[in-house]
């Protein structure tokens, strides 16, 4: 009889892990709470640093999961997880019971809820948006303000919900800097007359081709970078966003009027992940993401036998890293099943 593995979450990590396992001849049940697979890929238009359409990556991932070896259960919640001798027993919201030899948790991340940074006035001021809102505008092909007009000055705030003790997130989400740079370039492409300002604490451009993108943003697109954390935003009589920031490099506070403020929301442990943690008795680490058994060689392993992790449910990662991590998860599961 074929081995059976349950993968929870059908985002980038879940799809890749499921695809890899299926190719190894293992039956997979892929459970997704949303109706659609692809996770956050569905909300993003173009991906950094090469600016390809997110659909291409989604198509690639789905190409390998669209087969008989993988049973997709979409729009389904998990109610119970029991880890026993015979394997892992998962009860779904439909009352169905699935028994598997191993479980991969690929519950991904949630974007930081930007309204929690009350001082930026997201969902209060008309022209404050998040990176995800902007992606929707890119997909539509039109960047517009609350009143339908095109913005001329756009400010991008880095580290919203990341590296911020005040919201309880001490970690760096890693992707917001490069997302900011990518979006700044896209804004300039859409609106050649616009001026874009990135307000950053540090430019963390550590990935492949990130620094080059940063340089391009400065050189080719004239994006302005101001080092300082925006402390507050207000709205003036013309619905413009007035921000206050310290230009730390000039050593002076700075006030600026913007048509649009875009918040680079960070990554947080997903709500779904927290639920699974409770059901399966998995531990959370310092940043509330799942705790792995070892940062160096155990980044796919949980403290519970037979349960493995894939992707951003363990830490912020970009798509490349997520896919690598998911492949590693599949490898871990295969070797676990072989030695069982």
């Amino acid at each position: 009889m074929n081995k059976h593995v349950i993968v929870i979450g059908a985002g980038v990590a879940g799809l890749e892990a499921a695809g890899q396992l299926s190719r190894a001849g293992i039956d997979v049940s892929l459970i997704e709470r949303e109706k659609m697979t692809g996770g956050h890929l569905n909300d993003w238009f173009k991906l950094f640093p090469d600016r390809r359409d997110s659909r291409e990556v989604k198509d690639y991932l789905e190409k390998f999961t669209n087969n008989d070896g993988i049973k997709l259960l979409a729009g389904i919640e998990i109610e119970k997880i029991i880890n026993g001798r015979g394997g892992v027993k998962v009860t779904t919201s439909e009352g169905k019971e699935l028994i598997a030899d191993a479980l991969i948790v690929a519950t991904g991340f949630d974007l930081f809820r930007s309204s929690r940074k009350e001082e930026y006035g997201y969902e209060i001021y008309d022209n404050v948006y998040t990176s995800a809102d902007l992606e929707k505008m890119f997909r539509k092909g039109k960047i517009s303000l609350h009143n339908g007009k095109s913005p001329e000055t756009i400010g991008i705030v880095h580290c919203v919900g990341s590296r911020d003790e005040k919201v309880g997130n001490l970690y760096c989400s890693k992707l917001c800097c490069v997302t900011a740079v990518k979006q700044a370039i896209e804004i300039r492409e859409h609106l050649p007359e616009s001026k874009v300002f990135c307000f950053y604490m540090d430019m963390r451009m550590g990935g492949a081709m990130y620094e080059e993108l940063y340089r391009e943003a400065q050189e080719k697109w004239g994006v302005n970078f101001i080092r300082g954390k925006v402390s507050e935003a207000g709205e003036d009589i013309n619905n413009k966003v007035i921000i206050k920031v310290e230009d730390t490099l000039a050593g002076r506070p700075l006030k600026m009027e913007l048509d649009m403020l875009v918040l680079m929301a960070g990554m947080e442990m997903s709500e779904g992940g927290r639920k699974i943690a409770g059901l399966a008795g998995l531990n959370a680490g310092e940043n509330r993401f799942f705790a792995v058994t070892d940062q160096h060689y155990g980044s796919n392993r949980s403290s519970v036998k037979g349960i493995f992790f894939a992707g951003t449910c363990t830490a912020p990662m970009n798509i490349t890293e997520t896919i690598s991590h998911s492949r590693a998860a599949a490898t871990e599961v295969i070797s676990y099943l072989n030695n069982k």
Partner: protein, 353 residues
């Protein structure tokens, strides 16, 4: 502006306020700056709302003004506060209501400190015992006087004679609500509506028919800043702060400013005069200033108290334009009359502290 967003935040920041039996503590400076306000509070509470408010004749300053002016060490401040609590305990009350925002901030800070560091509370108890022989209980409920008025804003609205509405046009008055810095900036969870979008005054304005203005420098300090004002060499910063706020609110054409802090109405009111003298700038309409009120004064006006009983003649920026806008019936000739109509001072014996 999206009101739903604010409502979501307001719903997150609510606090428990007891509905009777308050131990009221006055502010040091308000009695000089706006002496009518605290009297008005007592009148509203006792006569209009029929609540039990107790005032102890022996209470002192909380020493917050010295603490924030860097002249009173924290241990001294805590001991003074402990004595106030002792007076409350002795009087048999547990709902502590300070009139001053800085006091409220200091009490909150001290209670929070004691909560996290019980050994500090023990030390203060010992110090108070050594100094005065008194014992105290920590207040069961701490609410600022504006919290109380907020709590009863609907009752006041029901009994109101006037609304914050322009009588001529029928439009709601455009009101700037200015919250004292020490109200919730230090402990957002202890203020109604939190620190970024406090609701305590906005709630009153809304209930009494006005419309609040959200202008960019809403969060900015009024300019008091303690040392900024107290040291003359720094006083220019104090005016500059107020000016920044006025410049920012001016395009919204506010009809009035409401505050809940002792210093703020003082500086927002007086500095308008100073700025006008220095630069010739005015911020209201028709070359007038923007009248500045305490929330008690506004509550009093709404309830139909005589403006001069509320002490509005003590304001530097004239309040008459606003009285006319609302359509309040008043006698201009009464403005500077000399007989004092306020209640007789209670005859309780001053106990040796």
């Amino acid at each position: 502006m999206k009101l739903e967003g604010k409502k979501a935040i307001w719903s997150e920041y609510q606090k428990e306020i007891e509905d009777d039996h308050y131990f009221y503590v006055r502010s040091c400076i308000r009695q000089n700056f706006f002496p009518g306000s605290e009297v008005a509070f007592l009148r509203i509470m006792r006569d209009v709302l029929k609540k039990d408010v107790y005032e102890h004749p022996c209470h002192t300053t909380c020493s917050g003004i010295g603490y924030h002016g860097d002249v009173v060490p924290v241990d001294t401040a805590m001991t003074v506060v402990a004595r106030q609590f002792a007076l409350m305990t002795e009087a048999g009350y547990s709902n502590y209501v300070p009139s001053c925002i800085t006091s409220f901030g200091l009490y909150t800070e001290i209670l929070d400190t004691w909560h996290h560091f019980p050994e500090v509370e023990e030390r203060v108890r010992k110090q108070l015992r050594q100094a005065t022989g008194r014992e105290f209980k920590v207040p069961g409920n701490l609410a600022h006087a504006s919290d109380i008025i907020y709590k009863f804003r609907k009752e006041i609205a029901e009994k109101a004679k006037y609304k914050l509405v322009n009588k001529e046009t029928g439009e709601p008055l455009r009101v700037v609500d200015h919250i004292g810095c020490h109200y919730s900036k230090m402990f957002p969870s202890k203020g109604i509506g939190g620190a970024e979008y406090p609701y305590v005054l906005a709630g009153m304005i809304e209930e009494w028919g006005g419309e609040t203005i959200d202008y960019p420098e809403r969060r900015h300090c009024c300019g008091f800043g303690f040392r900024q004002y107290l040291v003359q060499a720094n006083r220019g910063y104090s005016v500059a702060c107020s000016k920044e706020k006025f410049d920012s609110m001016k395009p919204f054409k506010p009809d009035m400013i409401i505050t809940n802090c002792p210093g703020c109405p003082m500086f927002l009111d007086r500095w308008q005069y100073v700025i006008n003298e220095m630069e010739g700038t005015t911020y209201g309409q028709n070359g007038e200033g923007i009248p500045v009120f305490t929330y008690e004064e506004v509550a009093g006006l709404v309830l139909g108290f005589d403006p001069w009983d509320l002490g509005l003649q003590m304001h530097q920026t004239d309040v008459e334009p606003l009285l006319k806008k609302i359509g309040i019936d008043y006698d201009p000739s009464d403005k500077y009359r000399l007989d004092v109509r306020s209640e007789a001072v209670s005859n309780e014996i001053l106990v040796n502290a």
